[in-house]
């Protein structure tokens, strides 16, 4: 799509909202966090569209999404007194990694559970590839790492997943 200069944020909401929501849900297992992320991403898209220069729209959008997601995780960490969904218990401490914050989120099924056990970088790469459907180049832009790192993360994420899922496939 997407290198269309007339794109509005409403178009982005209609076309990408579901993917953004699913991305966040698969990373956290938490519908409230996923809904918050959609809202935040759409706000950032609204502000950023006027300065968007044609290129990889998906890379641009998913970089915004990923950054919004990580900002949300950090913000949640800074406000530990905020009520959390049942079953969540975010650790209080200095500079927690996304892994630490996300380690305790609610699990919904075996695959979701296995995904949540992956280190954050691997989980993110696998979700962007297999849930969102980005190419390795787009994932590299979104996550700001070289393509070689993307390859390695996806591969290691898949290897770990297969080990975590003990049921026959």
């Amino acid at each position: 799509m997407a290198d269309n200069p007339t794109l509005t944020w409403e178009d982005v909401a209609q076309r990408y909202g579901r993917k953004i929501y699913t991305f966040a849900y698969r990373l956290t297992g938490n519908p409230d966090d996923a809904a918050d992320l959609v809202q935040e991403v759409l706000l950032r898209v609204r502000k950023g569209l006027s300065s968007y220069t044609p290129g990889s729209f998906d890379g641009w959008l998913w970089r915004i999404t990923r950054n919004a997601f990580l900002d949300g995780v950090r913000k949640k960490k800074r406000r530990p007194t905020q009520p959390l969904p049942e079953g969540d218990s975010f650790a209080v401490g200095a500079s927690p990694s996304p892994d630490e914050v996300l380690a305790s989120v609610r699990l919904s099924d075996d695959v979701q559970s296995a995904l949540l056990k992956l280190p954050y970088d691997f989980r993110e790469a696998v979700v962007l590839c297999d849930v969102v459907g980005l190419t390795y180049d787009e994932i590299a832009v979104a996550t700001d790492v070289p393509v070689g790192t993307v390859r390695s993360r996806i591969h290691r994420g898949r290897s770990m997943l297969r080990g975590l899922l003990t049921w026959p496939m």
Binding site: A13, Y21, H155, S159
Partner: protein, 200 residues
């Protein structure tokens, strides 16, 4: 000591990239050669393929509709009525219904339609099917009668071997009623041979 891993990390990673069509020409040649000659590479390929497939089969979720300009629930309403929403969708749908009059109205209409369809009476079968259905009923009736007769016979026999003497008044044990009731039901089929009840 030799490397105990069946395939190297490099080949394993290339197999993963191969699944996504993300190989250079040279890498593709290397992977194809491995898959043609190395059973361990094939096993590793299947392992990675399984992991990729299961993540890809996870359902795409619906985004919170209140965030989409003019967004409404649509097909989610029927799923909501039938209790078929996935857990993650429930709070979204409930929240949206709390604020959207259009969706509440549509939900009420869908509920009325659903109730009306569920209240439809059963339909009489076409005439040409009637003899076969009767035939089946008859056979079912016979089977039931035989079962009842067998049950009655068993009850009768049980009482027949129970000693009723020893100072007990047989009249206080309603064996006769019980027996006659069972015999009457059993007579719709082949009646069992009379069994003397209450005889010592």
């Amino acid at each position: 000591m030799a490397d105990v891993r069946p395939v190297s990390d490099r080949v394993s990673m290339l197999l993963s990239c191969y699944l996504d069509g993300e190989l250079t020409r040279d890498e593709l040649t290397e992977v194809v050669a491995a898959l043609e000659s190395d059973l361990d590479a094939i096993a590793e390929f299947r392992r990675l393929k399984d992991a990729r497939r299961i993540v890809r089969t996870l359902p795409m979720l619906h985004m919170p509709l209140e965030l989409i300009p003019g967004g409404h629930l649509g097909e989610q309403l029927s799923a909501y009525l039938d209790g078929e929403l996935v857990t993650a969708e429930m709070p979204i749908v409930s929240t949206h219904l709390g604020t959207c009059q259009d969706c509440r109205r549509e939900l009420a209409e869908l509920d009325r339609s659903r109730t009306a369809v569920r209240a439809l009476p059963g339909v009489e079968p076409p005439e040409f099917l009637a003899p076969r259905i009767e035939d089946r009923k008859h056979r079912r009736g016979l089977r039931a009668a035989v079962a009842v007769a067998a049950g009655a016979a068993a009850v009768s026999l049980a009482f027949a071997v129970t000693p009723l003497g020893n100072g007990e008044d047989p009249a206080q044990v309603s064996i006769v009623d019980l027996e006659s009731r069972h015999t009457a039901r059993a007579s719709t089929g082949s009646a069992p041979t009379a069994v003397q009840v209450g005889a010592p």
